[in-house]
Point group: C2
Chain length 244, copies 2
């Protein structure tokens, strides 16, 4: 195993940062790495907003669930799926109405994720820690207004970056046989893998919480089964994504 | 700049592979790196199908646009957004009907992309090359049948992995000022950035094609403006994604 795979294997989210800054050179390297990620047919259908204005940061932190680390991290990025820029380019040579399809929505969402993951790894290779902030989709309409996002751009997630001031345990992942299959999906492999992982994760939660919690994976997953962010569809429509 | 960032900056898609195999140890390291990627609330809402059956590979290659490298690459992976496994886990503790929301569709799509990008980087760190295959969405219904994907699982993209047998030029990316903004999106920055990038990419295309092509970016983007994969919405509905 080489050093880079060791780095990838070491990933855990960091939610507490020292007061040390992320330097401009570091941010530049992170963004350069992000830009070099794979992108569907070179559409580069994503944009990144770096939030340096602390008043704006406070407002975003409130909108994303009041997590202190959003306010306190030296760098906070909002990763957006962006079909607006593609449209501006295409319109120079294309006269019909531009399509607003589910396919393009997928392309923008995937391009944002690939670029962001490169940024995350670049940051971690510099000794920094990161956490993705799905909470940016809690109130996406207000976020989009604050960031002045044009139609056909939406915030997919945020990302805090900074020098780690904590060293949490790595969280174990699902058994391989529930995630990787040869040739065909194996529904029959799922149930026993969930049994195994429930035990693994329960033990991990116990260790991490000094015995206070021992939630199994399936219990945690049931907690996600209620109506979570059910505004996304109507928000996306307002933002111009017709999902045809 | 460290080695990891140098590696990330060197990325270019590889579409021609030597006959050298990808070893089991290499594939194991690649999948381990993938599994350690960030995931929304630990849902790990993705699965990977490795296509080792060569008859199946030929069929997938046909369905994905008949690209020879899909058939010829030592490893071909299909990355799927997977809400099925999450449902199986949650149902153990949740008795109401499970939701099928746009939010969960985003979570699955993003989780698949983050894991895949870790896999891509792990592969490149081992001296291998990769290319993402969006063409897997050309005929997703047939692909899903072949791979026996259950409801609430869909193929997001494929990925070829192997030892590179070509050394293409790095493709330059959009100017930073069209992709990264401070605090608010800057629509005013887009037009001149497209002008600049049209020139850059035109020169790159010329160099790469020995003078035979010089397509500007905006021209290439106009080529993506027609009706591309307009079946995705109805395919996803059939696959159980209600996108509520």
């Amino acid at each position: 195993m080489n050093e880079m795979i060791a780095l990838l294997k070491q990933h855990r989210s960091i939610r507490k940062f020292t007061k040390d800054p992320v330097t401009e050179q570091q941010l530049d390297a992170i963004l350069t790495a992000a830009q070099q990620a794979s992108t569907s047919s070179n559409m580069q259908a994503y944009s990144v907003i770096g939030i340096t204005d602390m008043e704006l940061r406070r407002e975003l932190a409130k909108l994303a669930g009041n997590q202190a680390y959003i306010e306190e991290s030296p760098v906070f990025l909002v990763w957006c799926a962006d079909l607006y820029r593609w449209e501006q380019a295409a319109k120079r040579h294309y006269e019909d109405e531009m399509p607003s399809t589910t396919e393009n929505f997928i392309i923008g969402t995937v391009d944002a994720a690939l670029a962001a993951q490169n940024a995350a790894i670049a940051a971690e290779s510099l000794g920094l820690g990161i956490v993705y902030i799905g909470g940016i989709r809690n109130q996406p309409e207000q976020v989009s207004e604050l960031l002045q996002l044009p139609q056909h751009v939406y915030p997919v997630f945020g990302m805090c970056i900074g020098v780690p001031d904590q060293s949490p345990l790595n969280r174990p992942r699902l058994p391989r046989q529930a995630v990787y299959f040869e040739n065909t999906y194996k529904q029959g492999a799922i149930d026993s893998a969930i049994d195994t992982y429930d035990e693994t994760l329960s033990a991990y939660m116990k260790a991490r919480s000094n015995g206070k919690a021992s939630t199994a994976w399936s219990q945690a997953m049931a907690g996600k089964a209620g109506p979570v962010r059910i505004h996304m569809r109507s928000f996306l429509e307002k933002q111009g994504f017709k999902l045809e």
